[in-house]
């Protein structure tokens, strides 16, 4: 006998419909939740970008202390912005938050280059010409003394380069280099006085500090130290009142080193800013990634010792190399390049630059005087077998506001951290 059982079948059908309905509700709920999350994320992203724009358009002083405010004076548009100096560059942090959700980004800021003030070569006018010999090439705008550029015969070699001598426009240089920005110099000078958070690395093999945290300052004081077998990255400043050696086994990423004298061992690879009072000695085959900076700063004149940045053979520097002295001394600072050194960026010497043949500058050189040392003689203002090519500089190259070639407009140099 067959049972009709209409109620039984209806209950089964009702259960099936109930299951379908509840799954529909659950899926709609999650879809809505996800969409709201994405909507909030988009809104936060938009606020974060607004914060980044505000930071790029503002001076360092306006956001030196972290500022929290509403972008449009409404709810759900709060941002927290901060900008601080980081060597020759600046580091900015932007945070956008709604309730518990936060998006944040840390980035390095630098200035666009001013094409009117940028030059492949700027040699101050000391009433004598610039002489070129061998396979020398100067491409780009050149600010040279009124006495001009001349071909010369040195070490049995005549000039073999382009007949124009300077491939680009020639302008008269002044008797002094365009100055560095004092405010940035003072910022760099103040690094020495930063309150130290540590006096050693405590046998760690890696140390990283976020740019959202307070700066970690490791001060070795008067103890000569070698940094080796360690990976340092982020918001870290290493300070020493005496000599500091950085071994090739150390990896530095975005950190600042400030010491009396710094030695970089052969084969080092890293991306850092090095500032020294007396000397920086970079041994051969080193590679400084962009953005790096080697700076010699003599705030107090030391008449007995010549400040010197020595760069070893086959070394590459991407960024800037500069020397500065507050009071002009008789023994001017020297940037001494060995053979086949390649610098992409700016060389700014308030002093002397000594080239060796095979050196390559993809960017510009600003200097008081050139030196060339042959076996027997030292030649002044001679360029022999050197290639200075402004056209080879990357169109994305940005410089620090320290240099006179910097525009006021700022751009993001590199993204450091984000979530």
């Amino acid at each position: 006998m067959l049972k009709a059982s209409a109620l039984y079948i209806v209950i089964v059908v009702a259960l099936v419909i109930a299951v379908l309905c509840s799954s529909l509700i659950v899926s709609a709920y999650y879809y809505r939740l996800q969409y709201q999350r994405k909507f909030r994320y988009d809104q936060l992203q938009s606020n974060l970008n607004s914060g980044i724009s505000i930071l790029l358009a503002s001076d360092l002083s306006a956001y030196k202390n972290e500022r929290i405010f509403a972008l449009y004076n409404e709810g759900e548009d709060s941002v927290s912005l901060k900008k601080s100096s980081w060597g020759i560059f600046e580091v900015a942090t932007s945070k956008a938050f709604v309730q518990k959700d936060t998006l944040r980004k840390a980035f390095m800021v630098a200035n666009k280059i001013d094409s009117n003030r940028w030059a492949a070569l700027y040699l101050i006018d000391e009433d004598r010409p610039l002489s070129v010999s061998g396979n020398t090439m100067i491409r780009g705008t050149a600010f040279v003394p009124k006495a001009g550029v001349k071909e010369a015969y040195v070490d049995g070699k005549a000039y073999q380069g382009d007949k124009r001598l300077v491939i680009g426009s020639k302008r008269n240089s002044e008797r002094q280099l365009p100055g560095l920005q004092e405010g940035v110099l003072r910022q760099i000078e103040s690094i020495r006085g930063y309150k130290s958070t540590d006096s050693s690395f405590n046998h760690r093999d890696s140390l990283s500090n976020s740019f959202f945290n307070p700066t970690m300052v490791v001060n070795f004081r008067k103890k000569a130290t070698t940094i080796s077998n360690i990976k340092l990255s982020g918001n870290i400043i290493i300070v020493s009142d005496t000599s500091l050696t950085i071994d090739q086994t150390a990896t530095l990423s975005n950190v600042i080193v400030y010491a009396k004298s710094i030695t970089i061992k052969a084969g080092f690879h890293g991306k850092c800013q090095l500032f020294a009072q007396d000397s920086i000695g970079v041994q051969r085959d080193c590679d400084f990634g962009y953005p790096s900076c080697l700076g010699l700063l003599r705030f107090i004149a030391d008449k007995g010792v010549q400040g010197r940045i020595g760069i070893g053979e086959n070394t590459q520097v991407n960024g800037a190399v500069f020397t500065y002295e507050r009071e002009k001394s008789q023994l001017q600072n020297l940037i001494d390049l060995s053979k086949n050194v390649k610098i992409s960026g700016l060389v700014y010497a308030q002093g002397l630059v000594r080239f060796k043949s095979g050196d390559e500058i993809n960017g510009g050189v600003f200097t008081n005087r050139f030196l060339y040392q042959s076996a027997y003689t030292t030649f002044e203002n001679y360029l022999i077998g050197v290639r200075i090519d402004a056209a080879q500089l990357s169109p994305y190259y940005l410089t620090g506001s320290l240099f006179p070639v910097a525009q006021k407009k700022q751009k993001v140099l590199q993204w450091l951290e984000s979530n």
């Binding site: 006998m1 067959l2 049972k3 009709a4 059982s5 209409a6 109620l7 079948i9 209806v10 209950i11 059908v13 009702a14 419909i17 109930a18 379908l20 309905c21 529909l24 509700i25 709609a28 879809y31 809505r32 969409y35 988009d42 938009s46 970008n49 607004s50 980044i52 724009s53 505000i54 790029l56 358009a57 503002s58 972008l71 449009y72 407009k409």
Partner: protein, 120 residues
Amino acid sequence: MAGIKLSVTGKAKASSIVEVVISMVVIVIVFGIAMGIFANVQRLSLSAQKVHAQAILKEELIKTEQEPHISKQTNNVDGFEVSSEVTPYQDHADLYLIALAAFDNNGKKMAELREVVYAK
């Protein structure tokens, strides 16, 4: 009972009238609730139009931020009326506030977007 062959002598037990009425009431209630839920979910869930409007505004923002200049205009984009207003942000020379909104044919706001941009 279509498809089931009954013998001449066979019997099929019928449901009582009460059982059938209760079944009908239950099925009507269950269907009613189900339709209500379905309608609610459909009404409250995001329409494809809103997503489309959001995407249009993002595209407009990218275009406007390339070369921002003070302006106020309304365009018709893909069936939406997109209003765009560029104003200086806090009197800063290089900062602009771009405010975009998309409306449907009935004038209902489907999406809006605001961002401060830096003139490159």
